[in-house]
Symmetry: C2
DNA sequence: TTGTAAGCGTTATCAA
DNA sequence: TTGATAACGCTTACAA
């Protein structure tokens, strides 16, 4: 198990009896090298087990073939799922990816993104940058050259004008949810979840207008984005004078806590409560959970992101600063099915 | 938003009126530079917004300060959880990390690790490598210099002798599970899960010997490591002539499918079945799931890995090729609590 | 088509 | 303590 030094183009050149540049040419261009030499080089490379050092290449050329993926939170299954889909989509288009999880620290109660994380990412000069999740501070991305596309997935992208943002149409999603509940006869419907952050604000806003267009009054119990917070908030909401018969949650995580609160409520003789989540994570599909939720079309988001990041510069230049809204899909499960008001 | 070219060591040198080497010295060593020049350099760097390009540094020095994390499967919450814990532990010790998910493809029914993924990782010459999960093919890691520690977390590490392996004591875990079920009066206990792969073999083996030491007969229904496979296998196991009253699953994912099969079985008038998972992922803790499971001490694994990867070479040299077994902890939940034979 | 040589941003060696 | 100068593994004019 000796420390086998990886062979370099120099070694290959020596082995094949050609110059370094020829070896480089073989790897970077389809033509311009005679068949004979090309074969000699390839044979030598194979013999030595040579593979080009991609980072040295990117240092030298000032460009790379890599896409950097910045996952904001590794614990959110929505994010890791999109990250994995994107990775696959990019791989199938011939692009390597490397990931970093955002190192976010709290300072004075305000979330701060560790600059070094992003810096290290940018040092690699990725060909494109994919951000998955709600990045609290986008300043460090300002030094990204204009020639490098930035795509933000599943989130709204204020604070970084040039980024392209791919996300579900939150308004439409909320409309679908409210329509569904309304068709089941629900009139007292409450939102449970945060109101802080761009995504949360959009979802709550969508809820409010969807309710308004149905002529219904929108109530809400705000809380953090954790299971526990959902439990607490729902417990309060259910004791509210409004007597909601349906609860719309910010996401699946919150909904899990709410689901528990509903169980307690019903064990104590409470009436049935319809419940919806958001994101359609695989947890919502578990038969014991069976949570009605909104599919964000994770696969579509990932593929579109891959296309934009690796495609024609003209194309993404045209899309820069815009939001691509995907049509959401309501997945109806037991948490609302036949749960009438 | 112009394409701001990042300043280099050269720009700083010019600004401060010193040589490149001096700037480099300032950033790489605590001393050896006069206070005056040091301050001049730092001031210039601040003015220009300079940060060292870490990858150029690693190319030049042949060494970096980065730990590479290779996550085998982004969908397994156990892995992402450990990855995130490790990332934090490493960050607090001053080390950057970058992650890659293994691109695993099936060829002729055999799992193949895409070499390019690992290769790209090694090109960076990480200071250490952390592998999380069961890597099917460890050959590409053979070229890693001996001076770079390799730690494999949550898994057994045959196939790469020099790696240090941190994992739970599977035998002890199975002993705890069998003891627990046995104390509830269960005698007909079946294992549901895969028997292929190093971890699966260890868990199944642990089950068999734990059963033997209790004088019980071990039965098993083998299956893949998915929810669906668990469902199918459990359905078969429950119709077995042996009539098991308890099922021990390979992991939580499989257990989720088994849980559903048990529900169907009981709806059809079947007797109660005790059920255990493995890994204590957060899903098992959900009140609707409430699955008895084995905590692998993810935090401890992550911290120990970080210590080994960044610590004294003597220390990990001594541990090379060994396995660090952590004591498992049985978390008892509703899936077994008071579920007697 | 091929080779030479300079350079990417850094560190390392060796004089000054 | 400082500054040339040569690497690191590669790309890329430019020359041959």
């Amino acid at each position: 198990m000796a420390a086998i030094k990886r062979p370099t183009i120099r070694d290959v050149a020596a082995e094949a009896g050609v110059s370094k540049s020829l070896v480089s040419l073989v790897y970077s261009s389809e033509e311009g090298v005679s068949e004979e030499k090309r074969e000699r080089v390839l044979a030598a490379a194979k013999k030595l087990g040579f593979t080009p050092n991609l980072w040295a290449r990117s240092l030298s050329s000032g460009q790379s073939n890599f896409i950097a993926i910045l996952v904001v939170d590794l614990h959110n299954p929505l994010f890791t799922e999109v990250a994995d889909e994107a990775r696959k989509a990019l791989a199938s288009r011939g692009h390597q990816t490397f990931m970093t999880a955002a190192e976010i620290s709290e300072r004075d109660g305000k979330k701060i993104l560790e600059k070094s994380t992003v810096q290290a990412l940018l040092d690699l000069r990725p060909k494109g940058i994919l951000i998955i999740g709600d990045l609290p501070d986008k300043n460090s991305l300002k030094s990204v050259p204009e020639s490098v596309p930035i795509v933000i997935a599943t989130t709204i992208s204020t604070g970084l004008k040039r980024a392209i943002c791919i996300r579900v149409d939150e308004d439409e999603a909320m409309r679908q949810i409210v329509n569904h509940l309304s068709s089941l006869g629900h009139k007292n419907i409450a939102y449970v979840g945060p109101n802080e952050g761009e995504v949360a604000a959009a979802r709550y806003g969508g809820f409010v207008s969807a309710m308004a267009s149905k002529g219904l009054e929108a109530s809400a119990q705000f809380c953090d984005r954790t299971e526990d917070a959902g439990y607490t908030a729902a417990t309060l909401a259910l004791q509210d004078s409004g007597k909601p018969t349906a609860l719309i949650c910010f996401n699946d995580i919150v909904a899990l806590g709410v689901q528990e609160a509903i169980r307690v409520f019903q064990d104590a003789g409470g009436h049935p409560i319809a419940l919806t989540g958001f994101d359609n994570t695989y947890i919502s599909a578990l038969s014991r959970i069976s949570l009605t939720s909104i599919e964000q079309e994770k696969g579509a988001i990932a593929v579109r992101a891959a296309e934009l990041l690796t495609g024609d510069p003209e194309e993404w230049k045209a899309a820069e600063g815009k939001s691509l809204l995907l049509v959401p899909r309501l997945i109806i499960r037991d948490s609302t099915r036949n749960v009438r008001a």
